[in-house]
Each structure stands twice: as C-alpha cells, then as structure tokens.
C-alpha cells in the first residue's frame, strides 16, 4: 500500500488517537478518559492513551479551558436523539457560558464507578419532594450506586439512555452542575479582585465587577475556581422555565457537522493496533447451544486465526433474557472472519419445545390466555352486570355490544449499525470501545465475566448508529468481553452481521388484545372491558389502559394475560405503549363508527366526561390537531382522515406527555396506501429544552410507526425469527414519507414525561381507520401489507 498515511506503520497508537481527535475538529468523540485514569494506563507500546489538555475541572460535568472553551460531560449516549446538545444546553443555561464554545464529551463510566455524586445534588430543589413548578416529584430519589430503578447516586447518576428520560430526569442535576460551576467561577473572580461576591455577575463567559466595570473571563479564573469550593452548595437554585434564555430555543445538534463528513466515530469504526476481528454465529433458535463445529475445514482460509466457543450469556447480566450459545471466528479482518464462518459446518442443539414454536401457535396461545384468569389491573363499576344487562336490553336494540380482537407482531429495532464492541482485556484491566445505552451495566458485566474489579474497567463511549430501545443492544458487550477474555492482550473487535444482529437483539413482544364495549342507545359506552396478552417478561403490560379509562365509561375493567415464550423481549421504542395505543384508539374509532358519530367529537365528548387530571390538555391536543388538519372539510374519493390521542401518564402521575395527530391517507383502488399529511399537536409542558430536537424526533417517529403499521413484522418459524435482513424486513424509503408534516406545540402546566419514543403511535390506528373508511375493510392485525386493501 502506498500514499496512505492512516496505516503508516511508524505511527504510534497515541498518534492515531490524537489524529482521530484532531480529525473531528472541535468536537472530541470517544477516546477520552480522565487524566488520572490515563496516568494509570499503559498499552502494549507503553504510550499513554489520548488525554485531555491539562485543565482542571470545575466539577465532574464542567471543564473550562483558558480560551473559554467549555467541555460539558454527557452521561447519556448520542444515538440521534440530540442528547449531546440538549444535555449541554441545560448545563450552559446555568453556566452562562458562550454556547458556540461548548464541547460535549462523554462522561467516564469508570470514574462513575468510583465516585459518588455530591450529597447536595441528591435531592433537588424542593428537596425532591415536589417540583416547585408543579411537575410533581422527579422520578428519582436516593438510590444505591447502581440501583436498578430510578437514578443511582454515583457520580454521573443515570448513565442509561432510555425511557425518554435524559432531559426529563437530567435537568435537575445538570442545571445544578452548571449553576454550581458558575457560582464558583464568580467566587474565584471576586476573590482575585478582593470584592464581594454579590458585586460580580457574568454573561457569555465574561465576568463583570458591576461597580467598576472591570471584566475577566471564565477561562482566566477557571484554574482558581477549580480550587475554590462552594461554601453552601445546598442553597443553589436552578432557573425556572420563565428565566430560561438558551433552553427553549431551537439549537442545531452539535455533532451534525461531523456526521455529514463521515468523521463521527461509531463503535464499528474503532481500530486499534494489533486488533483482530470476530464474526459470530449463535443458534438462531434462542436457548440453543453448540453441538459441533468443524474449525479444521476453515483453519487455512485467509486471515483466519482461531475459533472461540461462546456459551449462552449469563442472563443475569442481560436483564434476565436468554439468548443462544455460538461460535466466533477470529481473523485479521472482519470480512475474512465472516466469510470463513459462513463456510464452517455448525450443528446446533436446539431445545425441541422452542423449535416447535411458530407465529401461529404462539398467537393462538396468547388468544387462549385471554380466556384464562389474568391479572386484573383495574376494575371500576360492575362490568359483568353492565354487559349482562346490555345483552338483555340488546333484544330491544337499546344497547349494542361491540367486540374486537387485535394483533401486533414481534418487532426488532433494526438499528442501522449492527451490534459491535471492541474489547482489550489485560492482566488487571478491561478497556471497552462501544456505543452502549447502559454503560454502568456493561461495566458490571465486564467485571463479572473477567473477574477484574469494576474500578479497572474503562468504557470508551462511541456514538451509536441508532438506539430505539436500551436492551436492543442485546449481548453485544458480553459476547465481546467473553471472546477478548479468552484472548487476553489482543484487542478484539466483535461485529455482528445484519443477520446476527436480528438474533442478538431483543424484540418487542407479540401481542393480542380483545376489547368489548356495551353502548347505550345514544352510542356512548356503558362498559368497556380490555384484555391484553403478551409474553410474561414483556415490559409495558399496563400501558395506555392503567388506572382509569382515558375515555369516560362508568364500568371499566382491564386485565393482562400472559404466556411464556423463548423469544427475548425488551423495550423497543415506546415499550408497551405503541401496541396498546393501537388497540385502544382503533377500538374507539370502531365505537364511534358503530355509534354513527364523528371520531374526533366522540373522543372529545368522552374525554370531557372524565375526571382525569390532564383532561384539558387532551382536549387541547385533539382540538388543535383537528383544526390544523381541516377536519370535516371534504376530501377526494379514496382519501380519508383519522384522528387519535397519544398520551403517556394522562391517568395522573405528575408527569404526562400528551399529543394528538390527524392522518390524511389515500388508498388507490389497487390497494396502494399513501400517507399524505400528518398534523401533530404536541404539548410543550412548561417548556421544551430543544424544540428543534423534538420536531426531528416527531418526524422520525411518524415514519417509525408508519413502518410498524404498513410493513414490519418478524415471524417465528420453527422457533427462529424468519425475517433477518432488510430484504425481508422492509424499511420504508423517502418515497413513502408524507409530503406534509405540520407540528404545533402548545403550552400546558406540567412537566413532560419525555417524548423520545412513544409519539406517532397513532399512525397505526389512523391508517387502519382510514383504510376502513375508504375500502370498508377493517383490519385489526398489523402490518397492513398482509391484507388485501383493494376496493371499488
């Protein structure tokens, strides 16, 4: 090879890493670790890893350089949701530093394992009991270091990227971090000038002594501030929304310039000197193990080094999910490893009860479970009598019984970057380069698998090529750590093929539901009974139906039912909400049609009859979306509008996120569906931190749930997932994107429960109902591509 600097053998690892940092321009991604950790670290060449410049931090979140560059540590993973920008905005708002000089940088999971958060940050304004702005209690309190619920008390608090919670939970302690840093910078300035603290103020990184007009900068006093403790940090207050200046403004994502030049470092891009690649095949039927493989057949293939048997990853490390055992081939390049692996004969031991599973018998089992006693979650009034009386009165045609059953398939995240991780295990240290939504858990896994203490585990966080649900990362880290532990001293980069990524992910559970309603003579529900069923381990079983019906009904019962299957289920985008929203909103449409009423006004009336705490916000959402869409104005033949409510928390938790969407859809006589227009009315609560990010998330979720509605399904055939690449698991392209998306934000008087994952669920009921209006055909199982949509 010639004329190629990148692999020039003379370059040391340090050069490579610092070149990588330089190439990213102003932003530094990955390859960073706190100085003292770097000092402890050696690599095979004896050189230190890349370190940050010799600048002392103000606190664990904020470093101010002499040139006023402010490094803000980000404890969540950037996977397209804009967390690098929104989290930095929350710190910067309080710090009052120059936004154009803010540089996000991943927080150290290693350090998080060794230091605790300052005591005064554990309970926030109002001491955590109540949010002074009416938002109720923040969803965290005091927890242990790695509490499984809520937010740990370790240095960087929650390092998980999940539950749409980065902004929702982070704003308390991130605003506090910015405020504390600012006050210490002001204290340092006051001290150096010998003036009272009360006489100094700051804006845009410039500190002014008000009486004299004398100025200095954050950069100039940062070193002193780093040594100036705050005398009474517990008295620090954070800004309420009315005082925000940066938060609430539309800010472009700070990492976009890197993403348009190919310079972002994702996990897959990590390359270390001496690194070998691992391609993996695990049993496609979950729970399966390796019976035999013939490494001799491929031993002499180009680049092949060795084979490593991988046991079933310890379920206790991966949220109690059972994946499969398999085998990895280590080679000089991934393509060589993968090519050889594909040629290697492998036999599996497959649990026969798992291999006997298929979509049809699993669906039948779930449907059957609906008739067995389930867990009754809500039982208000007397459903049995209401239905019995309804049946009696039905003879006189005064009461109508409506019943419908719905189905949703297994669905994977199918993020664009296949699972991967690079791991180097040495005698008493583990280094992991990874895009990971649970670094604190991966740190623990590494320690458990290698026997090396957590304090010697270092994660070098990379951007993720899509997330869409935390445990979709599956056992990528655990497999890589296992393989690297068998090859101590050699960095191993594990990469899943796309097909293997479909085996390594968890799935949103297959689900069924049966809803029944008794309507009075005017078409209003007297009783509604909801039964849902999915895998026993599926999260989100109570979504959308819990505590109270969102639509007024005097008698309401909700029960959940379950079966135990072998497909590992997890938290795909929206968790339990999307399927349950499909059931609920579809059923309300069916009731409205049965009652001969307008589906918008029918919803409106039923919500206004409830006593739900966010009733007015739900009505505002519906009214706004209807008005935006021109609801009620005529459409050409073959087109229809459908409306739906989207909410999380409307039954009253102190947080809620409420929106409504209207979908305008056409269906050709040949059955081609076109989503023409989406009108979104979305609340902003007290304020959105970065409204541009929210817009982008909403646009993306519209297409996400369009895909769920129209195209996507994973079927189980002989115990394995049948659709395992983008030929059989289709992703919509730009030609299906709706030409019109209109988004309106409206203010409400509470904090949001986040919005990163469960908006746009109404695409499902919306398109299905538009298809019904146009074709007269009501389909209750997704995706709609399975059905005949022709008409006329």
């Amino acid at each position: 090879m010639r004329n190629n600097d990148v692999n020039k053998p003379g370059l040391s690892r340090r050069d490579l890493l610092s070149n990588a940092a330089a190439a990213t321009g102003a932003l530094v991604v990955g390859f960073w670790m706190p100085q003292r950790a770097a000092g402890q670290m050696t690599n095979p060449e004896g050189a230190a890893w890349a370190t940050e410049p010799d600048v002392k931090e103000i606190n664990a979140w904020v470093v101010v350089a002499p040139d006023n560059t402010v490094t803000i540590r980000i404890a969540q993973t950037e996977l397209g949701q804009g967390v690098w920008t929104s989290n930095a905005m929350m710190v910067c708002e309080e710090l009052q530093c120059e936004w154009s000089k803010v540089r996000p940088q991943y927080a150290s999971a290693n350090r998080d394992g060794q230091e605790m958060a300052p005591e005064w940050t554990l309970e926030v304004m109002g001491k955590g009991a109540t949010d002074p702005f009416g938002g109720g209690e923040p969803e965290f309190g005091r927890r242990g270091r790695t509490g499984t619920e809520g937010i740990p008390n370790s240095l960087y608090r929650r390092m998980r990227t999940n539950a749409a919670a980065s902004v929702k939970d982070g704003r308390y302690y991130l605003q506090l971090a910015g405020a504390e840093a600012r006050e210490r910078l002001l204290l340092a300035a006051a001290k150096s000038w010998g003036v009272p603290f009360e006489e100094v103020g700051s804006a845009n990184s410039v500190i002014t002594h008000r009486p004299t007009g004398r100025t200095t900068t954050y950069g100039q006093v940062a070193a002193l501030a780093a040594q100036t403790p705050h005398p009474n940090p517990e008295r620090i207050r954070i800004k309420p929304p009315s005082e925000w200046t940066l938060m609430g403004t539309e800010q472009k994502n700070l990492d976009v310039p890197m993403k348009v030049t190919g310079k972002t470092i994702y996990g897959i891009d990590v390359k270390l000197p001496g690194m070998k690649w691992a391609a993996v095949k695990t049993c496609p039927v979950y729970g399966g193990t390796l019976k035999s493989y013939d490494f001799g057949r491929i031993r002499n293939e180009p680049g092949v080094i060795s084979a490593v048997e991988i046991p079933i990853p310890d379920p206790s490390l991966i949220r109690d999910r059972t994946f499969s055992a398999g085998v990895a081939i280590i080679a000089e390049s991934w393509y060589q490893a993968k090519t050889a692996l594909d040629k290697m004969p492998i036999e599996w031991d497959v649990p026969p009860e798992n291999a006997a599973r298929n979509t049809a018998n699993m669906r039948a089992a779930l449907l059957a479970s609906l008739d067995k006693p389930g867990k009754v979650r809500v039982n208000l009034g007397d459903c049995d009598s209401a239905f019995a009386n309804g049946a009696k009165n039905g003879v006189n045609n005064t009461v109508k019984i409506i019943e419908a059953s719905y189905f949703t398939p297994y669905l994977p995240r199918a993020r664009m970057e296949p699972g991967n991780a690079t791991v180097l295990v040495s005698d008493n240290r583990v280094d992991i380069w990874i895009g990971d939504q649970s670094p604190q858990e991966t740190r623990y896994s590494a320690s458990r698998i290698t026997g090396i203490p957590e304090r010697n585990v270092y994660l070098h966080m990379c951007h993720l090529g899509g997330g869409f649900g935390r445990n979709g990362n599956g056992p990528q880290a655990e497999q890589a750590i296992y393989i690297a532990n068998q090859n101590r001293g050699t960095p191993i980069h594990l990469l899943w093929s796309r097909e293997e990524d479909f085996v390594g992910t968890t799935y949103r559970a297959m689900g069924v539901a049966r809803l029944r309603a008794a309507l009075d003579a005017d078409g209003w529900p007297i009783a509604i009974e909801v039964r849902t069923a999915m895998d026993e381990k599926a999260p989100g079983a109570i979504a959308a139906f819990d505590r109270a019906s969102r639509y007024h009904v005097p008698n309401y019962r909700f029960s959940t039912h379950s079966e135990t299957f072998h497909i590992p289920v997890g938290t795909r985008r929206g968790v339990g909400q999307p399927a349950h929203d499909f059931y609920r909103e579809s059923f309300i449409d069916e009731l409205a049609h049965a009652a001969g009423k307008d589906p918008y006004l029918y919803r409106r009336e039923l919500i206004s009859r409830t006593n739900l705490p966010y009733k007015a916000d739900m009505l505002m959402a519906l009214d706004t979306a209807a008005k935006m869409s021109g609801w009620g104005t005529p459409l050409p033949q073959g087109s229809a509008r459908a409306i739906a409510l989207e909410e999380r928390g409307a039954e009253g938790h102190g947080h809620a996120t409420i929106s409504a969407q209207v979908h305008t859809v056409s269906v050709s006589k040949q059955g081609e569906v076109r989503l023409l227009r989406v009108d979104v009315a979305h609340e902003e609560g007290f304020g959105l931190v970065n409204p541009l990010s929210v817009r982008k998330q909403l646009e993306g979720q519209i297409t996400w749930f369009y895909n769920d509605t129209m195209h996507q399904q994973c079927n189980v055939v002989d115990g394995r997932i049948a659709e395992n690449n983008f030929d059989r698991f289709p992703l919509s392209r730009i030609k299906e994107d709706p030409p019109d998306i209109n988004i309106t934000f409206f203010k409400t008087g509470h904090w949001l429960r986040g919005m990163g994952h469960d908006r746009g669920t109404s695409l499902q009921s919306g398109i299905a109902d538009a298809v019904f209006q146009i074709t007269g055909k009501r389909y209750r199982d997704l995706p709609l591509r399975n059905h005949d949509l022709t008409w006329g």
């Binding site: 994502n253 993403k259 030049t261 393509y335 970057e417 796309r498 690449n725």
Partner: protein, 156 residues
Amino acid sequence: MAIDLTVNGVRHSVDVAPETPLLWVIRDQLGLTGTKFSCGIAQCGACTLHIDGQPVRSCSYPVSSAAGKTVTTIEGLSPDGTHPVQLAWIELDVPQCGYCQSGMIMSVAALLSKRRNPSDAEIDTEITNACRCSTYHRIRKAIRLAASKMSSQGRL
C-alpha cells in the same frame, strides 16, 4: 493479488482477495470509516460511494471491479465539508444518529450531479437509501436546498 485503485484522488495498491467487497477495503485497508456497513446485501445503501461518479453500494461490489477506477467516499466529497449537499444537511440539521447519512449524502450528490433540479418523482426513484431514524422529511427539503445552492454557484 495487488489491485490498483484511486480513492479520493490518492492512488493505492491493495493486496486483498479480488472478491473482497470494496467496502471492507475502504474501511480496513485504507482506514476510511465514513462509509458504513449495515446490511451487507446492497439493500440499505449505508455503504454508498461513487465509482467514476456513479453511486455504488460498496458492500456488494468486489474490489477487483474497481481496479483502475476512481473511487470517491464521503471523506473525499469535498476537501473541507463544504459540498452544497453537506452544507444543506447542516443548515437543516438533517442527521439524527447519522449512520446512514454518508451513504445518503453520496446518493444525493450523485443525483444532483446529473439532475440539477430533480422532481419529487425523481427523488423518490433515485434516493433508495434507508434511514432508520427516518430523517426523510428533512432530506427532501435539504435536497431542494442543495439544488438551489448548486444552481446559484453555477455548479453541476
């Protein structure tokens, strides 16, 4: 077997099996990691680069077929990230996770180099890359913006 190819204006001679997909030569041998692997079967377009100006899915394109040809990757689309498509992408804040965007930008740059002002139908037909974050709405607007930037620059 040594194969000669020119990537982003630099001539290279690589010693790999001739059937090796160009993607892996670009990423592993040449260290240009902006071009991404995702499906491996030429479906999603994350690996799109240009060969003699034409968009190609490099995960399924043998390196031997690129011998003697000119390859351009996202790193070589412009010297300083100021190709009109890149500028439009920044202005409209298009990327989310960004993983598909190198391929997407290369597809769009190729389209705009042959069609100065493509119709919606042409965009629908030509831009077949997949984006899982679904940034399509901004992509279409950014294609229009890039087209207007290019025509005001008199650039083809």
